[in-house]
Subunit: 320 residues, 2 copies
């Protein structure tokens, strides 16, 4: 391999042939956004559609990463390959917990059947909400069949990202109530499966009752699928096979019912709408800076031009 | 007068000649937004700049409308003409308090030196934040020299609108603390003058101390103008002359310091930016509906076109 920069096409071809460095490089480009990200998206898109994505979210400290790690182990035992995107909306400086979690995942770092990647926002214009589906599609396009998307935290963005998976797993702990109080409704809405992690601690039964009650009281149409609740002790791997079976069962259910196709179509439409909105926003920022903008403002201040007239002037030619 | 609809130009000319029905009709058109509102804005804009606007805001029940009414009385005693815009972001169905307040103002309804108008959002695309400055400009253009903008409630929008006046009066009551807890910082930021209304009740001294302390602790640069605190009993008119003198004093201060010109320029720039942003948003909504949008979505779902490519396609020709 030479030291010169490989083109997106060269990287993509290499990545499809199993070159892990090429995958990492492609993901960096996708994460950064911009023209190369676009080209990668264009190259990969026709090859997508084969992967199944599993979202995993829960409050900080609920043991998501340990659970992810245990799940990877289980999948490897089944001789399945897996890619993991760990979404971290904050900087790498968020501290010990996350670094520690990542270290735990390093158990799998040398396994060629496993690909793990942390993602942060960096410069991507669309933020994580646009960068994540692009990264997932890339992993899909290079032939990964199972993709775990783990989100750190339970803020609006994290819940949204996790909720855009094919199957979404929400991780809680015994006595979870207070830690996610603010976002319980959001979590209920996206959960296809609940995991009570750290189920060797007391309070599992109460937590299960709490969840069942919230499901009963929720205004959600649970339809034929009521989110199962799976107790797990991720540190020991206990319950992980059951969790996996539940995920596979959910997949079979939404595939058979047509729900999977509906979800994916809805997600794509949503993303498309967001891309258009963000491009127009960017355009608005560009319009409202610069010399021409300043000159028009001066005219408005001098009462030679009214504000709507000035806006017309700025938007002329861009159909606004 | 014939029954046919008068054109904006006819209405505007009549309004400048003192035809109150024409003013009311023009304000309705402005409130509604759309092409006629634009034309009115264009017609009036060169005539603006003579009026001075006073914003008046405070929690529901603080007695804003009674204070407005008392202020009108005081101004009429000084032989000044005045226009009042009462901004009501909710529907006319908000209930008794507001209707009652409006009724109190009817004392002045037959006085040709007073013009009172309630405004709601209705269909204006830009909402009250764009409709209000347009309405103020219209009143300015037809020669009103003093314009009171009273906002009902202390939500984000109301505070913003009141804060866009030349002088902003914030009305509190003895023991006000709890009623506006959520928005104290916002109110501190916009206040040029504080009124403690219902100052015949106990707790006036504590409220004054409370306000002074908040001013001391605030991160605001109070500069050479520290918002005076004026005790008033609006129902009896007590303190209203002092309030008016304080407003006039503030006006003289910001005129002399150049702050008035800065505020107005800032407001216009802000409004212009908002108009551009809203026009682009509207364009985004137009783009993401219709046959062409549906067709592109189908292509994306069929993986014939990637999402960014589809966005390019939609935005082609509008420079997005």
């Amino acid at each position: 391999m030479t030291r010169r920069n490989r083109s997106p096409l060269e990287l993509f071809t290499a990545a499809r042939d199993g070159d892990r460095a090429a995958v990492a490089r492609l993901l960096s480009l996708v994460e950064r956004g911009g023209d190369e990200a676009r080209e990668i998206g264009r190259l990969g898109y026709p090859y997508t559609g084969g992967a199944y994505t599993i979202g995993l979210t829960g409050a900080p400290g609920s043991g998501k990463s340990t659970l992810t790690s245990a799940t990877i182990g289980h999948l490897r035992g089944l001789e399945l390959e897996v890619a993991v995107l760990a979404i971290d909306p904050s900087s790498p400086f968020t501290g010990g917990a996350i670094l520690g979690d990542r270290v735990r995942m390093q158990d799998h770092a040398t396994d060629p059947g496993v690909f793990i990647r942390s993602m942060a926002t960096r410069g991507h214009l669309g933020g994580l909400s646009l960068a994540t589906p692009e990264a997932v599609r890339l992993l899909d396009a290079i032939g990964r069949l199972w993709i775990l998307v783990e989100t750190v935290g339970v803020g609006q963005v994290e819940v949204e990202i996790a909720g855009k998976a094919d199957t979404t797993v929400v991780v809680v702990n015994p006595g979870w109530g207070d830690s996610v109080q603010a976002n319980k409704a959001g979590l209920m809405e996206i959960a296809d499966v609940f995991v009570i992690n750290k189920a060797d601690r007391k309070g599992v039964d109460e937590t299960r009752r709490d969840l069942e009650q919230m499901l009963d009281l929720s205004a959600l149409d649970l339809g034929a699928w009521r989110p199962p609740i799976v107790p797990v002790v991720a540190t020991e791997g206990t319950g992980v096979p059951t969790l996996w079976d539940t995920v596979v069962e959910h997949r079979a259910f939404i595939e058979a019912s047509g729900e999977l196709a509906r979800r994916r179509a809805f997600r794509l439409r949503d993303e498309l709408r967001e891309i258009v909105a963000q491009r127009l926003e960017r355009r608005a920022r560009q319009i409202t800076t610069g010399e021409r903008w300043e000159a028009l403002q001066e005219q408005v201040l001098a009462r030679k031009l009214d504000p709507w007239g000035a806006a017309d002037e700025m938007l002329r030619g861009i159909g606004g």
